[in-house]
């Protein structure tokens, strides 16, 4: 039979490479032949499979044997030598089997060690993989340390991360010397369609032509925008993402030059950008004061299209701030120097353009701080936590190994007395440790993979590049090595001890009782457990604080009711819903759409209220400056409230209470006088103690009457106070885009299909996106906190479990060691209860010591949690107290069994010599 290219032969050939070269040269061909014959002759079914499996494993065994063999000695040598060498492999296998059997005889111990090692290795690997993938890996941007954001600031509102105006941006470009390059970008959400129908709503970025080359992103195919394409009257060109290219064009290079429709207009694709191209976008937009665009919505948004900004440098747009500016520092220039220059430039612009640029400055911030700053503290806390868990795991393993070693001291001495060589004894313990470590590493790897999957699934999208994290082999290697070191060191201690002590001593008394070495060991082991307890306490306090923070956050009244509400975002295409500036607010098509949708949705079963608004309550939306008629605006604090356009059903749908005045209704239409409502924050900010009702606010060209005051809505998330807001009725300010909000009697998701079909019936070309219960949107906003809390909480749980195993282990060992002593005490009249207190007392002492050290450590380290906490002081006494109580209870449970065992000691039996 000819060895062919089939899979079994390939496998066999691969395994043959494991053999030493000389052996291969001599036998490889024959072995392959034999393998082939045996493989094809191995019969069918299960037996056939078993035979084939044995064939493959035989190849591996043979390779190991070849490598372990000593060279064949000359025939004239003494017999013992020859015998020894030819039995080496069998010896090792026998010893291996013996070690496994011995470990199997103490399943509790083996399981404990393997699980502990596995947990420590697994948790470490998973977390370090995340940290490496997110923080440590080099960024896809070229030389990211030289990139910074150039935010504008507003001294009146104190915001530091505002977008800039286009004329300002051009002035920055012309005047700056300390930036070698500046570029701008702006987020949009737009509708893309490829061919007939089939529209999809995607996040996108407007970018100036310098942007992509500046950050160092190169297209996979095609090219980025040229200066010519970036003119205000420039052509309709676009760049698409790698994902979109794969999905829609099957990675065909002919996508370059293809036409897609962007918001109904035809655009030509000029290139495809790699998956890493939108690195940091979510994070940058997320920290911006406003104009966050798609960064506000559900997590893991991905930029799918880039369009040239085609900035129009018209002078009247200086009061408008639509773009974000980033720059590459000139060589040798630091961030503070760049800051100085920008401050000077903005001061000059302030002087020249007092109307628009009053109180505006600049803030230069390193890009890596912006992108990573939000997650760095959380991730580092997690790294600290997992290191603690690893320490606890190692201490536990050490403890378990020492205990077992001490228990086997007699066995070791007996073996030694019977003639086992030192090498043999060492090998015995080494092999046991190797088996334990291998098993632990295997469990650890499985846990790491599973844990990483769980982490990535739970991780909020605000963690940069979390989608591309994988298991880090380096970290696995380091942790496994650590495990090996621990196992070998503490596993070998008994062997070394026994040898040093000599066989006779160990054979006399029972295992080290009374021997000073034994007591020393006991103290060391107790110290280990105390350390474990302290570490567990620190972790528990940390996660307790985070849990309390999250709980506090959930207590915050957002000002609106999210449960039972379904949200859907919409965008009306400009072709069928014209938006001519001259006729605003008379845009009848839009009004018709809104009324029709509202009517039909209200008729759906289960709907109790429906509303449309320009932004749902968890969206920051946009702001605009207003003028309170009759009050001279404070020049240092020009009012710029959040603008909310809502229809008559909004208050009922979101259940926002009316504080004063009247709600706005459909009667407030284009024939009626223009009205607004304000929220309490706006009242406090603009009217102080005076009654706002009846006052007028100038906004968008008309004076509007204030008719109502609404309760505050926390539009910037639960953790931030509500901004001042002004509400306009949709009947007086039509909605080209926004959210449909539906309050449902039952489960919101059940209505999604119905809602979609209603909108489709009204206008089939209006896509709905972001359809989800508002409660989901809310929970996404606390996603990162929850994530950190869950992870830290699991670590704390693991550490506690390990520490308890440690406590139990030490106490059991103590009882076993002191059985004779206990027997004597009982014989002398001590009652069982005092014996129990003896054991419990030892346990309590360890717990107190651990608690004390842990609390001190937590006190000292709690401030590192600082930025992650909300509404909780780092030294919150309630949390500390709860942890102490929990620890006490759990420790009591762990001590119970050994204490009972001590109680059950029969003095007569205990006093008999073992």
């Amino acid at each position: 039979m000819r060895p062919g290219r089939a899979a079994p032969y390939r496998a066999a050939r691969l395994l043959l490479t494991l053999y030493p070269r000389a052996f291969r040269r001599a036998f490889a061909t024959d072995m392959l032949e034999v393998f082939g014959d045996a493989w094809h002759g191995s019969g069918k079914g299960l037996r056939g499979l078993a035979t084939r499996f044995r064939l493959l494993s035989d190849l591996i065994r043979g390779a190991v044997a070849q490598h372990l063999e000593r060279p064949v000695p000359a025939v004239t040598r003494s017999g013992a030598f020859t015998t020894h060498s030819r039995l080496t492999m069998r010896d090792l296998l026998a010893e291996f089997r013996h070690a496994v059997r011995s470990l199997a005889r103490t399943p509790g111990f083996t399981l404990a060690v393997v699980l502990t090692l596995g947990l420590g290795i697994g948790a470490n690997t998973a977390i370090f993989s995340v940290v490496d993938g997110v923080l440590l890996r080099p960024a896809p941007f070229q030389d990211m340390s030289r990139l910074s954001m150039v935010w504008e600031t507003d001294r009146r509102s104190g915001t530091l991360r505002e977008p800039a105006s286009i004329p300002d941006y051009f002035d920055f470009q012309e005047r700056s010397r300390r930036f070698e390059q500046l570029a701008a970008f702006s987020p949009i959400t737009t509708t893309l369609s490829f061919g007939a129908g089939d529209a999809v709503r995607v996040p996108g970025l407007w970018v100036t032509h310098e942007f992509l080359p500046m950050v160092g992103i190169r297209p996979i195919v095609g090219s980025t925008f040229t200066a010519d394409q970036d003119r205000p009257d420039g052509p309709h060109v676009a760049l698409i993402s790698e994902a979109m290219w794969t999905e829609r064009f099957a990675r065909n290079p002919s996508a370059v030059g293809a036409t897609i429709r962007v918001n109904e207009d035809p655009f030509t694709i000029v290139g495809v950008l790699p998956a890493t191209a939108d690195f940091g976008t979510l994070q940058i937009l997320g920290v911006a004061a406003y104009r966050r665009g798609f960064a506000d919505q559900t997590s893991r948004a991905r930029v799918d299209v880039w369009l040239p900004l085609q900035a129009d440098r018209s002078p009247d747009s200086r009061g408008n701030h639509p773009i974000f500016v980033a720059g590459r520092l000139a060589p040798g220039v630091g961030v503070s120097q760049a800051q100085q220059e920008m401050t000077a430039i903005t001061a000059e612009l302030e002087r020249l353009y007092h109307q628009s640029n009053d109180q505006r400055g600049a803030h230069v911030e390193a890009l890596s701080d912006v992108v990573f700053g939000g997650v760095r503290p959380a991730l580092l806390v997690l790294v600290g936590a997992v290191a603690l868990v690893l320490l606890v795991a190692c201490a536990n393993v050490a403890n378990l190994l020492l205990a077992r070693g001490a228990a086997r001291a007699r066995e070791v001495s007996v073996r030694g007395a019977l003639g086992a060589s030192a090498a043999r004894l060492t090998r015995l313990f080494l092999i046991e440790s190797a088996v334990l470590t291998a098993a632990g590493a295997a469990v650890g790897l499985l846990l790491a993979l599973a844990g990483l999957q769980a982490l990535l699934a739970l991780a909020p999208g605000s963690i940069p590049r979390v989608g591309t994290v994988g298991v880090d082999a380096r970290v696995l290697g380091v942790t496994v090595t650590l495990g090996v070191l621990i196992s070998v060191t503490f596993g070998m201690v008994p062997a070394i001890q026994a040898r040093r002590r000599g066989p006779s001593l160990a054979l006399q008394s029972d295992s080290g009782r009374g021997a000073s070495a034994g007591r020393e060991q006991r103290r060391f082991r107790s110290a280990l457990v105390v350390a474990e307890l302290a570490l567990a306490v620190i972790l528990m306090i940390g996660s307790g604080l985070l849990i309390k923070s999250l709980w506090r956050l959930y207590q915050v009244d957002p000002g609106f009711q999210t449960s039972g509400v379904l949200k859907a975002d919409f965008q009306l295409p400009g072709s069928r819903y014209p938006q001519p500036r001259s006729t605003w607010p008379k845009w009848p098509e839009m009004r018709r759409f809104a009324l029709e949708v509202r009517r039909r949705v209200a008729a759906l079963p289960g709907v109790t209220a429906v509303a449309m608004a320009n932004a749902h309550p968890l969206e920051a939306g946009y702001t605009s400056s207003i003028l309170v008629v009759g009050r001279d605006p404070d020049p240092t604090n020009w009012p710029e409230p959040s603008i909310r356009i809502v229809d008559a059903g909004y208050m009922a749908t979101m259940q926002v209470p009316l504080i004063a005045g009247r709600p706005m209704t459909d009667a407030d239409d284009l024939e009626a006088p223009p009205v607004v409502s304000i929220n309490q924050a706006a009242r406090r900010a603009y009217f102080g103690a005076a009654d706002p009702l009846g006052q007028r606010i100038q906004l968008w060209g008309s004076d509007r009457l204030v008719v109502g005051v609404l309760a505050d809505e926390r539009m910037h998330g639960l953790a931030e106070a509500a901004p001042p807001a002004v509400y306009l009725p949709a009947s007086q300010a039509p909605l080209p885009n926004g959210s449909i909000l539906v309050r449902v009697a039952g489960e919101p998701t059940a209505l999604a299909a119905g809602l979609r079909s209603v909108v489709r019936a009204v206008d089939p070309d209006v896509p709905l996106f972001g359809v989800e219960p508002l409660a989901t949107t809310l929970s996404h906003s606390t996603g990162q906190r929850r994530f950190t809390m869950l992870v830290l909480g699991s670590f704390a749980g693991v550490a506690l479990l390990l520490a308890m195993i440690g406590v139990h282990g030490v106490l059991s060992y103590t009882v076993a060691q002191r059985t004779r002593e206990i027997g004597i005490r009982m014989a002398l009249g001590a009652d069982r209860r005092s014996v129990r207190s003896l054991v419990l007392g030892q346990g309590a002492r360890m717990v107190m010591a651990g608690l004390g050290i842990g609390v001190v450590g937590a006190f000292a380290g709690a401030r590192w949690l600082g930025s992650l906490l909300y509404g909780v002081a780092p030294r919150d006494p309630l949390t500390f107290g709860a942890v102490a109580l929990a620890l006490g209870v759990v420790a009591l449970v762990a001590s119970w069994l050994p204490a009972r065992r001590a109680m059950r000691v029969e003095p007569s039996e205990a006093l008999r010599t073992e």
Binding site: F23, E33, G41, S57, D58, G79, T82
Partner: protein, 120 residues
């Protein structure tokens, strides 16, 4: 060569014993050898290519086995394959080991650990 030179070879590991036994009176190549050993040991000694050639390497080194010049029946022959056969030393070692087993069996029979053969 004297018996003393055989002493260091005994006791023969079971795998070697079976290989030498299978090569008695015939030359064999790898796969056939494997099957013969499996058959004559009743399946207890199951060799694979790795262990087979590992053992053969040692047997060759100790000169208990040699590559054969002669080929069996040309119909069964395959040019590429190597055939192995016993050396004189191998034959003697096999006999010595069998004798050792025999004397052990005799001892066991004396002590009634094994039943004595019934007279026919």
């Amino acid at each position: 060569m004297s018996d003393s030179s055989l002493a260091h070879l005994l006791p023969l590991p079971p795998v070697w014993f079976h290989l030498l036994l299978a090569l008695t009176n015939q030359e064999r190549h790898g796969y056939a050898l494997m099957q013969d050993v499996a058959a004559q040991s009743g399946g207890t000694v199951a060799l694979g290519p790795g262990t087979l050639y590992g053992a053969l390497k040692r047997l060759l080194a100790l000169k208990l086995v040699e590559e054969s010049d002669r080929r069996p029946d040309p119909d069964l022959d395959d040019q590429r394959r190597r055939y192995y056969g016993l050396t004189a030393l191998g034959r003697r070692a096999l006999a010595a080991e069998a004798a050792r087993h025999a004397s052990l069996v005799q001892l066991a029979r004396t002590k009634r650990v094994l039943p004595r053969p019934r007279p026919a």
